[in-house]
């Protein structure tokens, strides 16, 4: 792949990864909590599920997501030779 093509392809893949991340973020920040009232009908270990998602569930997703993202973005950088030297 020529250098300008590599730059373009790297950015295209970076953008795609970012959109996926923003999608997951939006789902667990807003979408799922719109159903908090119905989810509260389900009990897990005493927790009403709607409450649990806002108090812990979404946060766990965010933490896991960020470790995954930093790994995935690094892989994208390496694939196109755009990563920093180790």
């Amino acid at each position: 792949m020529s250098e300008p093509n590599k730059v373009q392809a790297h950015w295209a893949e970076t953008q795609r990864l970012t959109y996926i991340m923003i999608g997951i973020w939006a789902f667990f920040s807003f979408f799922i909590h719109m159903f908090a009232t119905s989810l509260n009908g389900i009990k897990v270990l005493g927790f009403p599920l709607g409450f649990y998602m806002a108090a812990q569930g979404s946060l766990i997703v965010f933490v896991a997501q960020l470790f995954w993202f930093s790994k995935a973005q690094d892989n994208v950088d390496r694939k196109y030779g755009m990563a920093e030297d180790d």
Binding site: W11, K43, F51, F62, L66, M82
Partner: protein, 653 residues
């Protein structure tokens, strides 16, 4: 102590240094516990906690002193991602997170979770949209980036204006926080505690700038997280035999529901019922403003300038969120345990049989019974006796507890010795000081680097720059302490405003600057001011000038989230009390203050108006101005790939 180990190859020994430090801190706590057993009075123990922890922070600050610009502004860019994550978590979690969050959850129930969600999810935006790119760019401050990308000082000044507006009230709030912790937990006078806080901040940050603040914040994170976990872990182990409160409070929530039913609390007002205090629109608007604000607050973003690489900047955001998560997923447990204690042992009991912690915190004004501070049995019996038909049994409506009391009172609720209360005080102090350090550095660096070195005297020698930076740091710190010592009543509410202001003022410019090559300088400057001023006007008018808002700007009443009825009947009030529609400034208890607006958006979520206006202004103005030069476009390409030298290289290191 451990800090003596800070020698030449300090960064390669970090793990050992902080392990020894943590062990030393725990040994100190045990030492205090022994002193308590042999009868040393509580206030001496409290002072020992404060003196020891601030002494350690000061030692780190002095050992990390520096005369190098790179070290002063970005800690030499060699902070490993794990430790930067810890430092950022301490930088981020303020007195409000440590002392206030659990109380907010106690009072608001589900709807308080907007703060938990908003203050954690924002880091996804930090990691994916902004921080790695600013790290690659290689700036010292956030306004630096705006000035470079958007053609000079007009953008720099706009950035500085937003930074000042969001950071100064925030730092004042931290000093108010240290004053409250000192007064309530350690029996100091409020003013003395503010002064101790001021000293604690200056000894950390003045000599070593970012380098000293970084290593101090790591030490402060360790203190604050131990202090936060210990009381509630013990409480959980006592009650359920499992020392994991984050798990056991599910059972507590079930028990709360049973108690609520027995006490006749309507299902709609239950602890776990959503959208009772905020309607869904305001709940999600608040979550969005807090998240986007998180991603644009300069004192947080600048912490990611200190990592050795772009890769580590990204990892560091993940570590930050993990360290924040440990506290945030514990806060709802505090709220639940405290609520169950109140329902089991306080409400429905005869006045003479209330637990003694009620009076400990009633004396300092955190608990009211029948409308008076719960000082002793006689005073509350007298007060409840004045209520017609009161039977001498404490009812739900007779009991009021301040949000700040929950974390502070938990050690005593669990029947733990004073040493644990002292530990909590040290933790709250660490939370307030670490955040104040970061904020103060953000403000002083904007003044010294952006205003002085970049705009006033571009050729100042390095030594002169650093002297100016330190003088400005002291001036800003003293100014903040002076404002804090006046106990500004609104200050806590104003902290929440910082998020809306940053979200509307900085987020669009940062995101467009990185993600759009078409956004022009004129567009960015116009967008920053449009977003920032829209939000600022909405905040100030709805809170301080509601009369002006109704009469001139056509605002109307917000509505009750459950019933949908108007909070204030404007037409009726206008007929009966026209004088309250005065157009001068009003106090916080004014009947219209924070109750009017547009589209039922509460002023805490004012960024909801400013953000889209900022983005739209940038997109529209960009269409009518000359596109950025090809040189600038290739700079943007450079920012977008980690490999290669930073775009901006500081002269004179």
């Amino acid at each position: 102590m451990a800090t003596e180990a800070k020698g030449g190859d300090f960064t390669s020994n970090l793990g050992r240094v902080y392990a020894v430090y943590t062990g030393g801190f725990l040994a100190f706590v045990i030492f205090i516990a022994i002193l308590e057993r042999v009868g040393v009075p509580n206030h001496i123990l409290g002072y020992l906690f404060v003196a020891f922890t601030i002494g350690v922070y000061a030692a780190i600050g002095i050992l990390s002193r520096t005369m190098q610009v790179d070290e002063y502004y970005v800690a030499g860019r060699k902070v490993p991602s794990f430790y930067n994550g810890m430092a950022t978590a301490a930088d981020w979690m303020s007195a409000a997170s440590f002392i206030g969050m659990a109380g907010t959850l106690y009072l608001l129930g589900y709807d308080g979770l907007a703060f938990i969600l908003g203050w954690s999810g924002g880091y996804v935006l930090v990691a994916t949209l902004i921080a790695p790119y600013l790290r690659k760019f290689g700036c010292y401050t956030v306004p630096d980036f705006l000035a470079f990308r958007f053609g000079g000082n007009a953008a720099r000044i706009a950035g500085i204006a937003v930074l000042m507006a969001c950071s100064f009230t925030y730092v004042v709030a931290q000093l108010v926080g240290t004053g409250l912790i000192g007064a309530r937990l350690l029996g100091m006078s409020f003013e003395l505690a503010v002064f101790v806080g001021l000293v604690g901040i200056l000894v950390c940050s003045m000599l070593g700038g970012m380098r000293a603040v970084t290593w101090t914040q790591v030490a402060q994170y360790i203190v604050l997280i131990i202090a936060y976990l210990v009381p509630v872990v013990i409480l959980s182990a006592q009650k359920y035999g499992i020392p994991i409160p984050q798990l056991t409070y599910g059972t507590v929530l079930s028990e709360i529901q049973i108690k609520e039913a027995a006490l006749g609390v309507a299902a709609a007002a239950s602890h776990t019922t959503p959208f009772v205090r905020y309607d869904p629109l305001n709940f999600f608007a608040l979550v969005l403003c807090l998240m986007v604000g998180t991603a644009s607050l300069p004192h947080v973003l600048m912490r990611y300038f200190t990592t050795p690489s772009v890769r580590e900047a990204r990892q560091s955001v993940a570590w930050t969120l993990l360290f924040i998560f440990i506290l945030y997923f514990t806060a709802p447990a505090y709220a639940a345990f405290a609520k169950l204690e109140v329902f089991e042992n306080v409400i429905g009991k005869p006045l003479a049989q209330l637990p003694s912690w009620i009076y400990s915190y009633g004396k300092i004004g955190l608990i009211q019974i029948c409308g008076v501070n719960a000082v002793d049995v006689a005073s509350i019996t007298a007060a409840c006796g004045r209520i017609a038909g009161h039977t001498g049994i404490l009812g739900l409506s007779n009991f009021a507890i301040q949000a700040d009391a929950i974390v502070i009172a938990t050690p005593e609720i669990a029947g733990l010795p004073y040493v644990v209360s002292g530990l909590v005080a040290a933790g709250g102090l660490a939370a307030a000081l670490s955040t104040a350090d970061g904020l103060l550095l953000a403000i002083a660096n904007a003044l010294s680097h952006d205003v002085y070195s970049r705009m006033i005297n571009k050729n100042a020698p390095v030594a002169r720059k650093l002297v100016i930076a330190r003088v400005l740091l002291i001036i800003v710190a003293i100014l903040a302490a002076w404002v804090a010592s006046g106990r500004p009543a609104d200050i806590v509410a104003m902290v929440a405003w910082a998020f809306s202001l940053a979200a509307a003022g900085l987020f669009p410019a940062l995101v467009m600057g990185i993600w759009s090559k078409k956004t022009t300088s004129a567009a960015a400057v116009a967008g920053i001011w449009a977003g920032f001023l829209t939000t600022l006007v909405y905040l100030v008018v709805t809170r301080y000038f509601p009369g002006f808002g109704v009469n001139v700007m056509g605002m109307y009443s917000n509505v009750n989230p459950v019933t949908g009825a108007a909070l204030v009947d404007i037409a009726k009030l206008k007929a009966e009390q026209p004088q309250i529609f005065q157009q001068t400034m009003v106090a916080i208890n004014h009947p219209l203050a924070s109750r009017v607006g547009y589209f039922n958006i509460a002023n805490i979520s004012a960024g909801l108006f400013g953000m889209p206006i900022g983005f739209l202004t940038m997109i529209i103005v960009s269409k009518f101005t000359t596109a950025p030069s090809t040189e600038m476009q290739s700079f943007i390409d450079d920012i977008r790939r980690p490999r290669g030298a930073p775009v901006m290289i500081e002269k004179a290191g």
